[in-house]
Amino acid sequence: MLAAEAALKALMLTALAGDKAAYRALLEATGSLLRRYYGRRLAGGVADVEDLVQEALIAIHSKRDTFDTSQPLTPWLYAIARYKLLDHLRRRRIRVTIPLEDAGELLADDESAAADARLDLEKLLANLPAGTQEIIRAVKIEGQTTSEVADRKGKSEIAVRVGLHRGLKALGEKLREGTDRADR
């Protein structure tokens, strides 16, 4: 455990100086740690665990400059992992408050549902920032690849991918909020 801390912290310090190889090694090692951490704590299945691992990796990436280099790394990593776990459980709690008996009504809609869904999607998309909307439209509706979108918009592919991931997540949340409200 102590050896892991020393090795991970060394990678982190090199990564924070801008070293891609060290950063990649760090993220891979952290990915395994996170998979174990979430695997032990979530009964929900592999998909949930992998979602959370990715969520936490993105958080670690975007907040990596909050790490105090005079301190050990693992408490910082696990504090983020724990925060994302609690965040996930809170969202989950919101999700399971949709009463079960309503599920039948949701399924019993007629074929106008598809058209409605398209309209709803547009409405939900309209709530997102313009850049995010464009990425989701291009990739998920028009079927372009993230690297095409990146080239066209003059952004890095990673920025597009993270934007897509975040956008879809926000969309999912909006959808759930909407469903919750409709249920009330």
Partner: protein, 213 residues
Amino acid sequence: MQTDDLIANLSSDARPAGWKSARMRLLWPLAIGAIASFAAMDLWLGIRPDLSHAMTTSAYWMKFAYTLGLAVVALLIVMRLARPGADAARRMKLLIIPVGTIAALTAFALARVPDGSREHLLFGASSAVCPWRIVALSLPLLAAAMAGMRRLAPTQLGLAGVAAGLLAGAAGAWIYAFHCDESAAPFVAVWYTFGIGAVAVLGGLLGKWLLRW
């Protein structure tokens, strides 16, 4: 997206990064919030006309030091709580310095005067408006502290919100002191602290929602 792809993508984005530039994400909004709050104080209430004379009295510097001292300690706490896994307990203990000092000055001031005149030391002439003006002047700072903190990585949102509120309240009170002409330590200890505390409570309530990232 596969996790391996994500890692490949994230690692290709490696750039030099560190706290020195990260903390500016909090400090810039705070500076702007402080300017907005000061401008609001000047336009709405006005700087006290006798400021240059007041600056020669110890009462003025007592208010100045209490509010600024609280704000500085709160900023230190906020900086800790904005970083995952950091322990803010030691810095929280520093709060005892400004609070203990004002409490001692209050006890001293109250003990020194005859029985009938304590009421004036406690209530002054503006106790009914003082806390609420402090709350109002703190709002731009509270918005700034929340926005800045959210761009860092707080993991205890309620506590982080209280600390951000304490910072905003203390800085707002410091700005209010450019207008307020009360000079008794008991007044400051009660009504300034009440206003600052109200902002801290508000920060705690809002933090749970606003600080999510």
